[in-house]
Symmetry: D3
Subunit: 316 residues, 6 copies
């Protein structure tokens, strides 16, 4: 079976298929154009430069195309880099398809959907359940395929729904341990908290921000969607105001994008669970490629810290 | 003609009608209840304490009632205070009504409405005009009677619409001086920027925050209202997204309650005009009661600064 | 059965036994001394003022004594206050003892200890288990009786060990959901993270800061204790350095008292679990006395926010 | 007529005259020297690299010289860049002069001066007018030719006086709308607020900071100048202290370089007008080169934000 | 010999002469006026309240008068307070004069002046010495009698010059240890750094801020004075610019009132020496009244910290 | 005698021996590996690039080796850079040794040790002296050879002890000028304050952070060492707590790595002396290479400021 991109060690010769995540043209110091290509497969991403590119190259090696690359893995400032020796387009003869290369959630989309809908139907309050159900149905295709972010955390196919599901599982345990919590608010709030990303982001693959996303942000987008859904469903009750508040406050502070800080217990808790799940996702991803006894790359979403991977328990 | 509350000097005996803005019960150090009453008339507010109050007093002297007060103005830590010597309820015989005591905008509600609607109809873009018109009509009664805030700035009857009108006048001049500006966006954005206060605040008099206001904030409330209005009017166009962005960003920064910073020129400008009109309102109000050669009380909305009233140009 | 202090409504006459948590002398505006007494029982705390106190009163009504109080509950700035009408010392005849009045953890000390020791023995790494066991044993009496703080959160008898146990339960679930986590580090780190409070604080009742506590802080105290324990047990291995790091970093940031930010995955997670358990404890405590449809008192440990208690799901 | 530098599209061949704003030597990765040249004409600036330069080139292509350049416009990280194919010095035969290339204020220097002096003579207070007049006359040549800044805003010939004039026009309108304002203070304060730039900056072209400018700053420089002018004119009155205060406080806060925050109404307003005019200048400049439906380059003086140029009203 | 005010213990009866530093009228909760009087002698300050004051009392007990007080020292929230039992004005028969009560520098004014002038004459650079000498002579009377601040540090007669002298002594040692330092700049900068306080403050006793002081601040005042002195002395050289820079930057940062941060080595050092001498003065003053084994009152100028006075070396 | 590295001017041909401080591999834009080498001798450091390196080169030119370099000094963005023309390893025949190249403290290690021990023996309190002596002896070799930091300040052989000695000299003077200070605490605190660097850093040459150093930090390391030393010496007294507090608080604030702010006078002062000595070391180092009339490179440890080197007193 073919080796994955991040499984090659520094110095090793590479011959592999890869998905082009992005390809940016630059001008070399000798005045000639080159391409900075980010190759991707399920193991992760690696960057390489293709020098002296022709106009045909520029049209050929574009995002979302699949290529065959021959090269060598090198170390550049502590990060792996691809030294490209040969590059060619693939055709039907190569028998490759995009989904072989795209990172996806660790469980299947259907399973995510099934378990998440189970939590949705566990919401007892009729108004909360109806609004939540209405919006998940309205954006069903996107909700279960989009990533949770462009990069940083859960930046993979179905990342949005998988992130919501992980949070639901934590919330489930906590509402058993702390019985004062209102499970309805927790479940409805978690399911909807990042749903605005289906409008803020461009799609499941090679994701960018949309103009609407940039001008309004996913927080206000969900708030608007709840307002329209409640009007459509003719619901006008306190729980909808509280649900909107949970959405608006889930980033915790004004500096982090929330127009209101959490002022309801479940809002505060959803903010904390969101932070915890995102942190664990970023940490496990970074440490997966960090040898015991060394430090990870800097993690932007965690104040740019490098984390140490202890070796005491990993030596044989 | 009767002297107004803030026209009495320190040491002067007072005999006057007044509107009770608030009345809060406390327990004196001798264990007996007392009332902290804020008296109000068109000249402003003055606080006084009524000692050893009975249960009847507590029911009698409540917010929004009109009383006749006999007393003396004293100086307490640099602020005028009413020493209450006598207090009685008023009846029909006194021929007094609330509107004699409530501070209002410097021009009449009708004139405000007329001039503001003139700006509204000057919006050339049909979508912007329709959404703006729809919402001003939907909340017409409140929009032209509510204050712009509980205290701090434009905290008087019709303060909300008067503040919007003052901003429109500034914007009108600026779009003539800087011709790149889009007057449509400026006018629609200004007219709607604080409209959410008709839901965030309780009413034109003795104003407090509503629960919905506290949990969502006027910024998100307007955003929701625009979303519903556009759905109702079946408008789905870029200018509505930009208009929502203007509303969301008009506080300028996350720390100040905006989920997005201004990312459109007119959004940045509306933020600056809002700040300028609010500052001028707070300053002229504070300096109106500050003798030349002395400092004003501290102004909370301006970083708690005391402003100096120069005397060089005010001496005869 | 006797009504508890916080079960009396405003306006209701009180006749009750109470524990004096603190008693501070003041000088009234008439020049006479008075006492500000904080009464305590299992329902919580209420303050009252005793006017015109004699020298005998000052010696009689001191912290940790039990008294019989006759009075009335009043409302002072939104907080319940005791208007004292009569106060007397108690004697053997009253058949009261301190433990009737002191708030304790919701489960018994023995159960806390048993479950916590279960987690301790689940630590598989011998070095981590030995150091953790050594320190819990060294301070066993204090560890299972001290509160977790003077006020704010888990400020009750056995609060320290109950807080650690709550965190262990959350960690237990998380290490099942996120299998990359090292349960040994989580358990050892959580059990020891606040152990320094047994030196930082004065004791389980009427708790204050010790001078050593004030000058070093519980974080550095635990770090020193681990250093001495490891020297005593002749352990010199990486896991002890990582354990010390977890202790040093568990407040998350320099501004919050940690000399190092978390640089190991389990350190980051313990910081987040600590924050989550403390927040939930403060919130449930504050909301227990907040009527549906109203706001809680301001919670100092949560940026001084007032939380709203929704009413939609609490109406019959 | 010759096309201007920023009128060439990406990919287009260039043949043009240009003014060299700056030329900085570097060492290429092949060890050979090169020049980073910033070319300038009235349309703006574009950078290009000249490779393998000789010692003669280094002496020939220096700031403030005029050259003829042959090349091609390329796109480098979203910014236009000049690929230099040929470069030569110009001589008398080329019939070019510096003022053909330098960006200037949108209205002529004489008109600026005339309108600004009109405001100066509208100052009714004799002391304020005399000091203001004295200083404008003392630095007349520089005041009407210097830019208002090295870059960021009004960074062109006569930018300093044009910026002051724009602010005077805004102030003029505001003092009509808010009649409590003292027009004398506004006019004198605005005219002098940035006059220190004639000492802080090196000159109208290829501008840098002087050592005195760097060590004292234009704010303290004007303050000193007013002190000396008042001494010279034997004026010792409150209005001069207030005028100095306006200068010292016009950046609004200590963090922004003001040793005092505004403590006089007109000082606060001048700070706000300054911010407004600078912001509008930066925005219109950036958006002039931003296609509808896209984002501007990041604007350093506006918290590094990229602004969106709406397209709804720009499509035919 | 008469006991000093702060030498009386809590509970002790007082009979003493005292200087009235300030006397502020208030209204008691019974509606009657009272006076909050700050009594002062060389040992420090103590506050007391005089109840039910008559109009004569208000005219009699004013700042800078000397009184005879009979009373008792009480403890109020950890601070000593005077319970006034009797108060009378003094006359010639009492043989008391203000200087018996005013705290002064620990060494005599003449000695301060002599040692400080010695440092002034040690300045070798003629321009620096002439400007420094000119300004010390111009404000000689005030410079050697004013305090360095209203409160916080060196808030006593001759505090300004004593603070400068203490700094000169530290600088003297440092320039011997670090030979790269320019002693001329250090001495001239230190002597002038706070000279602006002679205009910023009202005088040596019962000190307040002047309006000029409030609007300009002592930093800009010295800068202006140097500008005028150099013009008068016809000096126009780099060292004067550097000297002005030292003055402008000696608070270290914009947030602390400096329009420029230190950009010259001696400027940075003077900032640090200033901070060190002010801190040591605040600390020794606060600890002088703090028993070993206890904490000082909070020190505003040191981030409101309470300092611990160790007891280990103070027990017999 | 051979010229030192930083004594060569820009443009001058270099032929010199040098110590390799660090050598980092990179990939050039042509895809070939190169080495960024930092050459070092007693005059300082200079960087150069060696192009097209072979595998042998990578093994040959490693940190701590001594080489002979032929090249030319060039200017790159205001910093000197070495253009390498030839490079070879040295052998016994070259008669060079590392200590010829390493920067050391300005006085000899023996003299540092002798003077520092003199201060240590001047500590009168037996407990403080014993703990301090115990730890200096325990780490004697490292304490007198390590630098005080990797870069920034006192980053040379014996820098740690020289920095401590400089601070002791300042403290000595201050305790004579301010007699309330406790010299014992000052001396013990200063001697131990940075001793943890012997564990935090890797060694005296080519210094990096150890894993223990990174996870615990030198502040907590010293705190642990004192705890263990006191246990070993069976000392349990207040002065040891105060000494630990001084160590913990010597960075002044949580943001700067101290888990406690200074709460004892000598702790505050040691923080200020540390800051002063570090600042003077950074400044004199940077200004040594800054021509009069120009600005130094930016100094990271001083908020990234560039300092001006005045010329008025340096011209002949």
């Amino acid at each position: 079976m073919q080796k994955k991109l991040l499984e090659y060690n520094v110095g090793e010769a590479v011959e592999a298929y890869a998905f082009i995540k992005s390809a940016q043209k630059g001008i070399a110091t000798n005045g000639k154009p080159f391409l900075s290509i980010v190759f991707q497969d399920k193991s992760g991403e690696i960057e390489g430069k293709l020098w002296d590119v022709s106009d045909e190259d520029l049209k050929r090696y574009i995002p979302e195309s699949i290529v065959s690359v021959v090269g060598e893995v090198q170390n550049y400032r502590g990060q792996k880099q691809m030294k490209i020796k040969g590059l060619r387009e693939t055709s039907a003869l190569d028998s490759v398809s995009a989904d072989q290369f795209l990172k996806t959630a660790p469980i299947k989309r259907d399973e995510i959907q099934q378990e998440l809908m189970h939590y949705l139907f566990a919401i007892k309050n009729a108004n909360l359940q109806r609004v939540t159900h209405y919006l998940v149905k309205k954006y069903e295709a996107e909700y279960f395929s989009y990533p949770a972010a462009m990069r940083h955390h859960h930046e993979f196919v179905s990342g949005l729904s998988f992130h919501s599901l992980s949070m639901l599982r934590i919330a489930d345990q906590l509402q058993q341990q702390y019985t004062e919590l209102d499970a309805d608010l927790l479940y409805a709030g978690i399911i909807l908290h990042d749903l605005g990303k289906v409008i803020e982001l461009s799609g499941p693959v090679a994701t960018t921000y949309t103009i609407t996303g940039n001008l309004l942000g996913h927080i206000s987008i969900v708030s608007n969607e709840i307002a329209k859904a409640a009007a459509e469903l003719q619901i006008d009750s306190e729980e909808i105001v509280v649900l909107q508040h949970i959405i608006l406050s889930h980033h915790g502070k004004g500096e982090w994008g929330s127009p209101k800080p959490p002022l309801v217990m479940e809002a505060e808790l959803i903010h904390l669970i969101d932070q915890m799940d995102a942190s664990l996702n970023m940490l496990t991803k970074a440490l997966a490629h960090t040898d015991p006894g060394t430090y990870s790359e800097r993690i932007f979403g965690l104040d740019n810290r490098s984390f140490y991977n202890p070796k005491y328990n990993k030596e044989e």
